[in-house]
């Protein structure tokens, strides 16, 4: 029998559901808020926003970040923009349309009511960011400017050149700094969460390692909020920052928090292709470039002339041909798959023939290079630094790379996981992006969760929870700390010859082949064994020099890779169990005659969430059925 997960969805019409629910949520008075403590892990858009907002409300907040400063969280690297249903362009946008586009972009594998709430809150995020002094792009009249992103026929994306994430994060970081100054938040930098402390079935704290001294600390609170980002680094090569990892959410899963749709990972079509074994970090070239750039490959397979030497008639603008309605602005899953198909057919260019061209020369003729530099200047600079080529001469060479995880810890409508008191926000949860995230929706979700949703739903939890005091040296906390200590010792004790990076590289190869842009039953079945074998080799042949009681970056890396080696297997299991194609999850066995994803709504219109494996037992797959009241799930069509 399948166990069913209940999202604890409030009733009522979608359009007023959140508002009604908010009116019914318990309130905690200001005097009592001061008595409640909240621990927030991570200081990206979601974490910084949540910590600052909770502090403004009067809660006592402690915030952990593994960077040297809260401002370094990986949200900082988001480039293109943030969506909001403002309809400033008068092009017919509305909350309904943003909701619709996001749900359809996710291939109807997200929870409808969450997506609606996200669209509804989007406009307030822009209001707040502007009030913080975020310098968004403006029109000459002084009003906010917009551009287009994939999967939409309206312009609803707000941006600050190619560094929107940085500017939004600095806004949230400023708000956090203000609350630190006011005494409501304590930010502890260079602390990495390595385990969750569960007392009487409720999340009551974490075990964290002070990365400078190596000390294992216990931090307890009335509730724990994880805002620790995504896990695309499981592929070794990805657009994620070097240190982005799954450890916090994976350790929470080991303590009982169900992990939803782990195989839903997005591959971004426009990244700089990998050169050589040494490069793990693949540099993203923002999707916004597809506003003005055209993707193409040479018509003749194996044509190795320089791009500018290939005449117009011998180029295949494959996205424009295949998807005339959306052209170069199709959602990322379709873009990446089309690039892969072109390369598989021998039309690829660049290193190993695994890349395509992104060409801005038409736009440069139409608008002039100065306008393009104003729009994308920092991206051009980055491209030039890394490749030595000028992107406005000839064409940029780009390829798909692992980018964003739609999967993550399962949360209910309150953003609470299956462990009471453990809330999960931003990319770390699974909730709103379905099987494929639309461009410029990640920033929107992180900030909606952090500023506008969690601070209210958390009060609902705290009000009813009847929490007994918990000591940092209570039995559960001591046990969790002992587990972490044993794990750190094991990493240091293996005394082998292979580095954590080497195992990570090997894992990445397996995952990219079997659980990448395309997946098959055969490949996934084989990969499950391969990942298990790698994991075994890891614990026998790992080399980690140094000691536990010092700054030891190799030890940090090894711990993260150890968790990726467990998560990777679960991702393959999830991809194998989902016998359909949807969004970024493309099973070769399930495709239409045109090579598009074929969903199976009768059997798979659900979220799959996995409970942790126990000794001798594989993880269990729980199910949350997805129901759509507002629109009929249909086959996505961008043609």
């Amino acid at each position: 029998m399948t166990t069913v997960l209940a999202a604890r969805m409030p009733p009522g019409p979608l359009a007023t559901r959140w508002e009604r629910y908010r009116n019914e949520l318990a309130l905690i008075g200001p005097a009592r808020r001061r008595l409640h403590s909240v621990l927030v892990v991570g200081t990206g858009l979601a974490g910084a926003a949540a910590a600052a907002t909770l502090s403004e409300l009067g809660y006592r907040v402690r915030c952990l970040v593994f960077h040297d400063s809260a401002r370094r969280a990986h949200s900082v690297a988001a480039q293109g923009g943030i969506n909001a249903a403002k309809n400033y362009q008068n092009d017919g946008d509305s909350v309904e349309r943003l909701f619709h586009d996001t749900l359809e972009g996710g291939d109807f594998r997200a929870r409808e009511a969450n997506v609606y709430r996200l669209a509804e809150l989007s406009a307030r995020i822009i209001d707040h960011a502007v009030a913080q002094g975020v310098p968004f792009a403006r029109e000459y009249g002084g009003h906010l400017a917009n551009r287009s992103f994939g999967g939409a026929l309206v312009s609803r994306t707000f941006y600050a050149r190619g560094q929107t994430g940085q500017q939004l994060l600095l806004g949230a970081y400023g708000e956090l700094a203000k609350e630190e100054a006011a005494g409501g938040v304590t930010v502890l930098a260079r602390r990495e969460m390595l385990d969750l402390v569960v007392v009487d079935g409720r999340a009551r704290g974490v075990v964290a390692r002070d990365l400078v001294s190596g000390t294992l600390e216990v931090h307890t609170a009335d509730a724990v909020v994880l805002a620790t980002g995504g896990y695309a680094n499981v592929y070794f090569r990805s657009t994620n920052a070097k240190a982005s990892n799954a450890t916090a959410i994976w350790r929470a899963n080991r303590r009982g928090a169900a992990f939803a749709n782990p195989s839903f990972v997005q591959f971004h079509p426009t990244c700089l292709p990998a050169t050589g074994e040494h490069r793990a970090k693949l540099t993203l070239m923002s999707e916004s470039l597809r506003n003005d750039g055209r993707l193409w490959v040479p018509r003749r397979a194996g044509d190795d002339r320089r791009p500018e030497a290939i005449p117009e008639a011998e180029r295949d603008y494959f996205l424009e041909h295949r998807y005339p309605r959306f052209g170069n602005l199709v959602p990322r899953d379709l873009g990446s798959r089309a690039c892969k198909a072109m390369c598989d057919d021998g039309h690829g260019v660049g290193p190993g023939g695994r890349a395509v061209y992104l060409d801005l020369t038409d736009a440069a003729h139409r608008l002039g290079p100065a306008v393009l530099r104003e729009r994308y200047g920092n991206l051009f600079e980055m491209y030039k630094h890394l490749t030595g080529d000028d992107p406005l001469r000839g064409a940029m060479t780009i390829a798909p790379a692992a980018h964003y995880s739609m999967g993550g810890l399962w949360v209910d409508y309150d953003l609470m996981s299956t462990v009471p008191g453990l809330f999960v926000i931003g990319e770390a949860n699974f909730s709103d992006q379905g099987a494929n995230r639309l461009g410029a929706s990640g920033l929107m979700q992180g900030l909606a969760d952090g500023y506008f949703i969690l601070p209210h739903t958390l009060a609902g939890y705290l009000d009813g929870a009847r929490l007994a005091p918990v000591a940092d040296d209570g039995a559960e906390a001591r046990a969790a700390r002992a587990d972490v200590r044993a794990r750190v010792r094991a990493l240091l004790a293996s005394g082998g010859r292979r580095t954590a990076t080497d195992f990570h590289r090997a894992l990445g190869r397996v995952m990219w082949e079997a659980c990448g842009i395309e997946r098959s039953r055969e490949g996934l079945t084989k990969a499950i064994d391969e990942v298990a074998a790698l994991r075994e080799a890891f614990w026998q042949d790992l080399a980690v020099p140094g000691e536990a009681g010092e700054l030891n970056q190799e030890l940090e890396r090894a711990g993260r890779v150890a968790d990726f080696l467990e998560l990777g297997e679960l991702m393959c299991r999830d991809a194998l169990a989902r016998e359909e194609s949807c969004g970024c999850h493309f099973r070769v066995e399930h495709q239409t005659a045109d090579g598009e994803a074929r969903r199976d709504d009768d059997r798979f219109s659900h979220v799959a969430a996995w409970t942790p494996a126990t000794p001798g037992h594989a993880p269990t797959r729980l199910v949350e059925a997805l129901e759509f009241d507002s629109l009929d799930p249909r086959e996505r069509s961008y043609r």
Binding site: A52, E56, H67, D68, S69, A70, R71, R72, V76, A77, A123, I126, D127, H128, A131, Q132, G133, P135, R138, E139, G141, G142, H143, L144, A160, R161, Q163, Q166, L170, Y173, G174, E175, A177, K178, E180, A189, A241, K242, A243, T275, H278, R279, K281, T283, L284, E381, H385, L386, G388, Y451, F452, R497, T499, D502, A543, P545, E550, L551, Q553, E554
Partner: protein, 250 residues
């Protein structure tokens, strides 16, 4: 290509450090300097030697985590770039490249090439923000902001907080860092109500943290990976002076 990396090794804040030379024979010119360091570290780790500690994360010049002094210059010889975007083809075959941590009194060395830049966070805490409570913002288009003003604000707001400006300054001043934030917020209507207080508080906090005074050498501007110019320091000085002359308005 072949390069020798001459790297500052220091076990922790208390112990003395020294340079150690490492020879790399198989460097791909397309590698970045930090990828060459990764490569060296893999070799060291596999043989049981402690790898070289250094901060780095996004590898695309935006997070501000990385920052080495390369051949005597913060972020290396190429202007307008962070250490993570510095390709090895910058150096000639056979070169010896010296890598040191940012050296300035306000950034104590933590280990090897890692320094403690938390002083910059404390300066921000003194006033590097607009005090607005979540939920209280007016509709975003209520206050128009001229396009040129918004662009200039963004030029200043681009600061990534890497601290190269401090490391390059003979006085160890954080004037470019502080000036960038004061200029960013001072240009926008949203930043006006706290402008006086911000100017006084951030400058005072920088003094408290032990950053030096600015004497307009301009070294900061020349190493800033985002190209932030000395004009932000002029803006800071103006705001600070104006604030100091208007007691009671803070």
């Amino acid at each position: 290509m072949h390069v020798t990396l001459r790297i500052w090794r220091q076990r922790d804040a208390r112990e003395a450090g020294d340079f150690v030379r490492y020879s790399l024979d198989d460097v791909d010119p397309a590698m970045t300097l930090l990828e060459a360091l990764d490569h060296l570290n893999e070799r060291l780790a596999a043989t049981g030697e402690p790898p070289v500690a250094f901060d780095s994360d996004c590898r695309e010049g935006i997070c501000g985590a990385c920052g080495l002094v390369v051949d005597g210059r913060p972020h290396g010889p190429r202007p307008g770039t962070t250490t993570c975007l510095l390709p090895m083809r910058t150096f000639r075959d056979g070169a010896t490249v010296t890598l040191e941590p940012f050296r300035t009194g306000a950034f104590p060395v933590v280990r090897d090439l890692v320094v403690d830049r938390s002083a910059l966070d404390r300066v921000m805490r003194a006033g590097g923000y607009v005090s607005v409570r979540v939920g209280s913002a007016p509709e975003a288009n209520t206050l128009p902001v001229g396009r040129a003003v918004a662009e200039r604000a963004l030029d200043a707001a681009e600061c990534i907080g890497c601290g190269a400006c401090v490391a390059a300054c003979p006085n160890g001043a954080a004037a470019l860092f502080v000036g960038a934030k004061i200029t960013h917020l001072g240009l926008l209507p949203q930043g006006q109500p706290e402008r006086t207080r911000r100017g006084l508080a951030m400058v005072a906090a920088a003094d408290r943290e032990g950053f030096g005074g600015c004497s307009l050498h301009g070294e900061c501007e020349s190493v800033c990976p985002r190209g932030i110019g000395l004009d932000v320091i002029a803006g800071m000085n103006r705001d600070h002076l104006r604030a100091a002359l208007m007691p009671g308005r803070s």
